[in-house]
């Protein structure tokens, strides 16, 4: 089980290294703060209760997630290869395959933590956002100010906890703040599950829109897939080309249906590209929530399978290349 312990140590170190970077903290804080402010910035429109807030929160998750994933993947590998840290680790009895895969696991950890924060915040803002209510004595638009206050408080408290830990114990501000934020968001969701908007006890979790979870999950899976791509590329080229190619693949994969899908029947090239490029549209399903709809488990399963197979192929390529290259 030495390999397992090595893998855990390497992955943990990678995740910690990324989480301690100031820019990682900035990305997490700005994305969650913007998400938290969405219900106050966006007003109801055309009777689509919560749709704009919800969609914007998902969009923030995806956009900031791409930055987090790209940054994490390139820091984990490119920088270490350039800086010589990788050669120091590989001179120890650590296999290259393990090193590469453990690095990937660390990146997935960072993306997972970010996505968890973002997903929880999305759940909360969907609850806060204005809705048209016709039950009880209330008719009209209402916002859940109580949860809103808790959410903003969680953000402030996370920073306070990070600052205190740094002040008293000299602990790194970045990683502690992110951990505290995650804990705070979980507490907010639990409180949200227990109480109604008016502050009274409510049946557990009745007021939460759990339909959002599969949508967040699919975005997370897409981000993991993106990290796999970035990691595989990092074995060959440096930070900047990796980010450039990732952006190109992202944009082309997003328009894959339009660019290649419609020509796939007639052109061999279009068919090949359509099959090779990851199709991000599979992972962007928030429109399915309109008018009370939801994403089926079968769909999530199929999309995950697609992503797993795809990521596995990319990682295999990465491993093979990484075995050959000089460090």
């Amino acid at each position: 089980m030495t390999w397992f312990r090595q893998a855990v140590a390497l992955a943990g170190l990678t995740a910690l290294e990324v989480l301690r970077q100031p820019v990682c903290l900035l990305l997490v804080l700005v994305s969650i703060t913007l998400t938290a402010l969405l219900p106050f910035l966006i007003l109801h429109r055309f009777g689509e209760d919560g749709k704009l807030v919800r969609d914007s929160a998902f969009a923030l998750h995806a956009v900031f997630g791409i930055f987090v994933a790209g940054y994490a993947a390139t820091t984990a590998l490119s920088r270490e290869l350039q800086g010589g840290t990788a050669s120091a680790v590989l001179s120890k009895p650590v296999s290259r395959d393990l090193f590469f895969l453990a690095k990937f696991a660390g990146v997935v950890g960072v993306v997972g933590i970010f996505s968890l924060c973002s997903g929880l915040a999305t759940l909360l803002v969907e609850r806060i956002g204005e809705k048209f209510v016709t039950t009880g004595g209330v008719i009209g638009y209402v916002t859940d100010k109580q949860t809103g206050v808790f959410l903003l408080l969680a953000l402030v408290m996370a920073c306070v906890v990070g600052a205190l830990a740094n002040y008293k114990r000299q602990r790194p501000f970045g990683s502690i703040t992110i951990t505290a934020l995650l804990a705070g968001l979980v507490i907010c969701v639990v409180i949200g599950c227990l109480f109604a908007r008016s502050g009274e006890w409510a049946p557990f979790a009745a007021r939460m829109d759990w339909r959002l979870v599969p949508v967040s999950l699919l975005i997370t899976i897409a981000l993991v897939l993106m990290s796999a791509l970035a990691m595989a590329l990092s074995t060959v080229v440096g930070t900047v080309p990796t980010l450039t190619v990732c952006s190109a693949v992202f944009v082309m994969g997003l328009m894959s249906d339009y660019l290649f899908g419609q020509h796939a029947a007639v052109s061999l090239w279009a068919r090949v590209l359509y099959s090779i490029l990851p199709n991000w549209q599979h992972f962007w399903v928030c429109d399915q929530l309109n008018a009370g709809g939801q994403v089926s488990r079968a769909y999530v399963g199929m999309a995950s399978l697609y992503a797993i197979v795809y990521a596995a192929a990319l990682l295999c390529l990465g491993v093979v290349v990484f075995r050959q290259r000089d460090v």
Partner: protein, 305 residues
Amino acid sequence: MEQPDNGTVLEVFQLTKVFRDFWRRPRVTAVDGLDLSVQRGEIIGLLGPNGSGKSTTIKMLLGLLHPSDGSIRILGGRPSDVAVRKRIGYLPEDSYLYRYLTPRETLLFYGRLFDLSASERRQRTAELIEMTGLGPAADRAVGEFSKGMARRLGLAQALLNAPDLLILDEPTSGLDPMGCRQVKELLQALAARGTTILLSSHLLADVEHVCDRVVIMYDGRPRAAGTLKSLLENQERMLVNVPTLDAAATRRLLDLLRKELGCEADVSRPSMNLEEFFVKVVREAKENGTPGAAGESKMATFLQA
């Protein structure tokens, strides 16, 4: 700006540097109450183990760090004065060079920063490249250099302005013994010309060979200071140096000393240290016509003035 009349190039009084954390609380006291005065033409060595505050002191002298307490007067001004920096040469502990420039381009670039005229820049660059033995690599990117070659280039850029005060942080680290010897000879020649040199090192042999005076630092404080002679000389014993005598003559000499002066004496042969031996071997090999990597240590003309 002229040097002060008394010939003091550098005067440091109660210099203290406290590194603080984000909350401005003191974390480490890197330098603690250092007093130092350096005269023109002196070679002074800052000695000490790792983390003793040598590099921090040097960075404060150069204005790269601000002292927490105490004062610095360098070449009659403050470290931040542009006119002062015009007369200083600095070699950092690691040669932080632009990786994609060649040695020639590197020196031309720093020459521009010293505001040298185009012809002066070209002339000095050529001479320094020759002097540091980088001629064969003059048009290769610095990124491909070994540590020793980068060090030579670092030294060349420090000499570009024919400085009055040369500050060297670990000047011989990464150099081969020939390079070390050349650097030391160069420093002695520069000092003879009137350049003041401050060097920090933890390689004692370096300091011993070239320095007039040393300050030994530990934990941010000066623990011993003075001329090498005064610090190292054994006042209790003497050494008499004579050509090799045969066994009988040696015995007679020892008997004479015992009888006449009533003191015990012993006899040994002075030995070369390894560096001297190495230099001798390589010089002999060179004289026999085998070309080597090290360059000639012919002093650049603009430094001879």
